[in-house]
Symmetry: C2
Subunit: 241 residues, 2 copies
Amino acid sequence: MNLILLYPEEVQASGQILSLKDRRFQHIAQIHQPQIGDRLRAGLINGPIGEVEVLALSASEVQLRWHLAAAKPSPDALPLELVMALPRPKMLKRVLQTAATLGVKSLWLIHSYRVDKSYWSTPVLSPDSVHEHLCLGLEQAGDTLLPQVHLRKRFKPFVEDELPALVAGRRALVAHPYQAQDCPAPAWQPSVLVLGPEGGFIPYEIAKLQEAGVESVSLGSRILRVETALPVLLTRLFPLR
Amino acid sequence: MNLILLYPEEVQASGQILSLKDRRFQHIAQIHQPQIGDRLRAGLINGPIGEVEVLALSASEVQLRWHLAAAKPSPDALPLELVMALPRPKMLKRVLQTAATLGVKSLWLIHSYRVDKSYWSTPVLSPDSVHEHLCLGLEQAGDTLLPQVHLRKRFKPFVEDELPALVAGRRALVAHPYQAQDCPAPAWQPSVLVLGPEGGFIPYEIAKLQEAGVESVSLGSRILRVETALPVLLTRLFPLR
């Protein structure tokens, strides 16, 4: 946790005092182990980054004062619509965290032939769980802007009715080992990236994606797991910021 | 498992028949669900890639015939010495797999001030466990060349006595957010990459690394977990192959 995320309902004004008793308290007490008076980096969800000053620390809570004075901007958001076949639950947790850490702000989780239908009923997809994993990713990166997650349980309506509008005016790519061009050079430009399930999209799905204006790119000779392909592709597509 | 790894003691010659009952059998039966006569990609550890033909499949084992005829080369190995502060055990498993998947062939796990000493006694570091996680990574990538893992429980002797020889003639970089230059452009050249622990190297350690000829590079404004930093950095340093 490189930044402590606070909710707008917890602090409204600089100088305000608040108490934390949840996992943020646990993390501060066990990892930061602060002295009274220490200042830690903190930020408001979807708001500015500042600091909290440690006023008191007990066995069950930490008392903090929020300071907006030293405000710093959040890291740049990726200009990206990320479309992913829903990963299996264990991988989904890490994908949500990694996407948030790397600056993805719009994530579309879609169905695909090789996505097991049972994945859609995992508790990991509950709003509270999605929110928690996104927050863990933001806290890691030092970011405050919460990604939007869109669930689309049917492939065809999404690809036919929604994807063309996302693709319009954007570089749109799907990682696919066959009939693919090389990945383009990194460029900070509006983009759509589509990532398939373990085992890949089936030919029908690739054809539908291409009809919607999405081009296939190769990731090289190694086959990567989704959670590895994600940071690799984002690094290939966008320059360092 | 995009390639079934076989041991040289299991098959010596093309056309040879073998039976598998271990996790490879489980994976073939549950994921591949092959028909009799199907051919699956397979390879010998530290040897060539070919195919296995499915001869028989029961509830407890699969009988295969090894064919070398369709031999393909392994993907290119990264020209890299990867030096990492020992991650905590849960992350270590994923780091071993990811490093193997991405083509790392020489991995040095070292101690550092922020590495908890207890991490060195984890069962994940036992030779069998390390071997298993490396094999999982190779099977994912479709590679057969097993990485070498070197354990160095003392930071100073490693950095003073071994690291300078590794660095000689190689591009040598440590990911460090402070006093750092931008990451160089991707280039397929002999390299040393040093990755710190969660929380980073302490200033003394960075100074020792610099004395050994390792330069600091920045990863941008986001702070990444080790398991995310690894694919990001390898993608920044090496072009796609």
